[in-house]
Amino acid sequence: MDYFLNQVINGLQLGLVYALIALGYTMVYGIVKLINFAHGDVFMVGAFVGYFGFAHWGLPLPVAILFSMLTCAILGVVIERLAYRPLRYAPRIMALISAIGVSFFLEYFCSLRFVFGPDYRVVERPIQTVTWHLGGVTVTNLQLIIMVTVAAMLIFLQYVVFRTRVGAAMRTVSYDHDAARLMGVDVDRTISITFALGSAMAALGGVLYAIAYPQIQPFMGIMPGLKAFTAAVLGGIGLIPGAVLGALIMGQVETMTAAYISSQLRDAIVFVILIVVLLVRPCGILGRTEPEKV
């Protein structure tokens, strides 16, 4: 039983990190209907910048995280500007291929010797690990930090989307670009802000991931990115609560499979569940199917 509860907590930790990445996917998809395959690589850049911040440049951890978030926010906006905006009115598949191109570019560029280099780097934890035993269940201060940070980010994001002018603009643009423009919304600016927010979240997720699973390399973003996107689809893409729900499910399934069945079958079982859920609810768990317009 204690083992089980510990696995639940491990799964929660993983799921919450996925949630941070999934939020960026779901926001970008919601607003420009683009599967931003480069998002996982923004997460990787975030992890590296954060790591350099606290391990090599001697920044305090919060400053390093903020610096990493700022860098990635700028990176996200630049990517959107150069690679996606020119294709906004092209067939959607072209923006997707462009996203794959950006993803390859970030991976290979970052693995060049004068950038981050191709090797694995071991991340030394910037904070002392403290472990609490609560009646057989072990919780570390790191897990607590992740939980609090992610919860704070969620509340912040919900506030931004539903209580601010920018959020209103985002919801309007996601509904209809042209109508939003007619209503006086600056569509380009709103999309840029969405990319900045999503990329900053991914950077935060990247730093937390690097601290929790202390090994980083330029191709580390592929699988977490793919799984976070799957989580967003699982929960219902375009919905912020859906992304979190999907990510928490993914985290639990992955941890439980690794703990009780086989760590090699982890990915397969995650995707079997995804396919089964999509067959029952084609738009995700929280998603609503819209009737097709003729």
């Binding site: 794959i100 950006v102 390859f104 060049l112 090699q264």
Partner: protein, 333 residues
């Protein structure tokens, strides 16, 4: 019209022989060594698989990004036959048939539930299937030890040479051309343009989606089977979702709804990847991925309809006896 049709066939025959002779002359004069021959063969194999995806996505509009899964299923099924039966021509043909049919069977079973999904959701489901297949291939040695699992599979007889692969590519092109310009193919194209409108004129979309999906995946299986008999080492990472992206890139960069585009980009893509290695030299070989990525982005930004944008060249896709050329698919979506 008989005379016109005959000249078209004649031109096609001359074209095929010319390409074949050109390759042979390059080999004989030593301009094309065995390394580049390998690159060319790989390009042709990828082209066969991409033609399959072209039918599924380019002509029927079914967004599938798990194409490498069927490539891998075909390769492993054929490889298993090759290892147990041997490498003679009959065994080779049997292995090709088994690889192709196995991919077709799995495509049918997967397509039954999955093809009900639309657009990006279908994409994610097929991507997920691709990852499942990769995990299965990684662990397959626990069930069938000779398939190697995560350490890779060796010992498949290397029967497929350039002649076989070239021949099967020609057959695949003819098959795809005939399919696309048949009643079935036209039904598929109209599903791509508007599924609801198509079903309202009495065409059953499910049936045609399934038809092009099974046909396309079996071409991927054939490509995989040829791959198994051409390259001595099979490994699950060759068939993971990054390979699926390669098929997708070839089809989209060539131009959706253009078989010519798929063929030209498929071969060009293989030479681009290896050519970059050659051009950059030892000192800058690390930049290969960066330059490839930039080229990809630039191609998409500059030619957003793909290199061929739905057009066909008569030599590769002969329009024999066809009058409806002007109605050729426009490659939207």
């Amino acid at each position: 019209m008989a005379t016109k049709s005959t000249t078209q066939w004649f031109k096609l025959l001359v074209g095929v022989i010319a390409v074949y002779v050109l390759v042979k002359v390059l080999v004989q004069t030593g301009l094309m060594n065995s390394y580049w021959q390998r690159v060319l063969d790989f390009g042709l194999i990828m082209t066969i698989g991409s033609l399959g995806l072209s039918l599924i996505y380019g002509f029927t509009g079914q967004f599938s990004i798990g194409h490498a899964a069927w490539f891998g299923l075909g390769a492993y099924a054929a490889g298993y036959i090759g290892k147990t039966v041997g490498g003679g021509t009959p065994a080779f043909l049997l292995a090709l048939a088994v690889g192709t049919l196995f991919a077709a069977l799995v495509a049918y079973l997967v397509g039954l539930p999955v093809l009900r999904l639309t657009s990006d959701y279908l994409g994610i489901a097929t991507l997920g299937f691709g990852i499942i297949v990769k995990v299965v291939l990684d662990n397959i040695n626990k069930v069938i030890p000779s398939l190697g699992g995560a350490v890779g599979m060796t010992g498949i007889p290397q029967t497929a040479d350039f002649e076989w692969i070239f021949g099967f590519l020609l057959l695949s092109i003819l098959l795809c051309r005939n399919f696309v310009y048949s009643t079935f193919g036209r039904a598929c194209t109209s599903i791509r343009e508007d599924e609801i409108a198509t079903s309202s004129v009495g065409v059953n979309p499910t049936r045609y989606k399934m038809m092009s999906f099974v046909l396309g995946c079996s071409l991927a299986g054939l490509a995989g089977a040829l791959y198994a008999f051409r390259y001595p080492f099979l490994h699950p990472t060759t068939f993971d979702f990054l390979q699926s992206f390669n098929f997708l890139i070839i089809v989209v960069a060539g131009g959706l709804g253009s078989l010519t585009g798929t063929v030209v980009t498929g071969i060009g893509w293989a030479f681009l990847l290896e050519g970059l290695r050659f051009v950059l030299g030892q000192a800058f070989v690390d930049f290969r991925g960066v330059i490839y990525a930039l080229l990809l982005i630039v191609v998409v930004l500059v030619r957003r309809q793909g290199l061929f944008g739905g057009k066909e060249i008569g030599l590769i896709v002969p329009q024999i006896g066809r009058r409806e050329r002007r109605n050729a698919p426009a490659g939207s979506l």
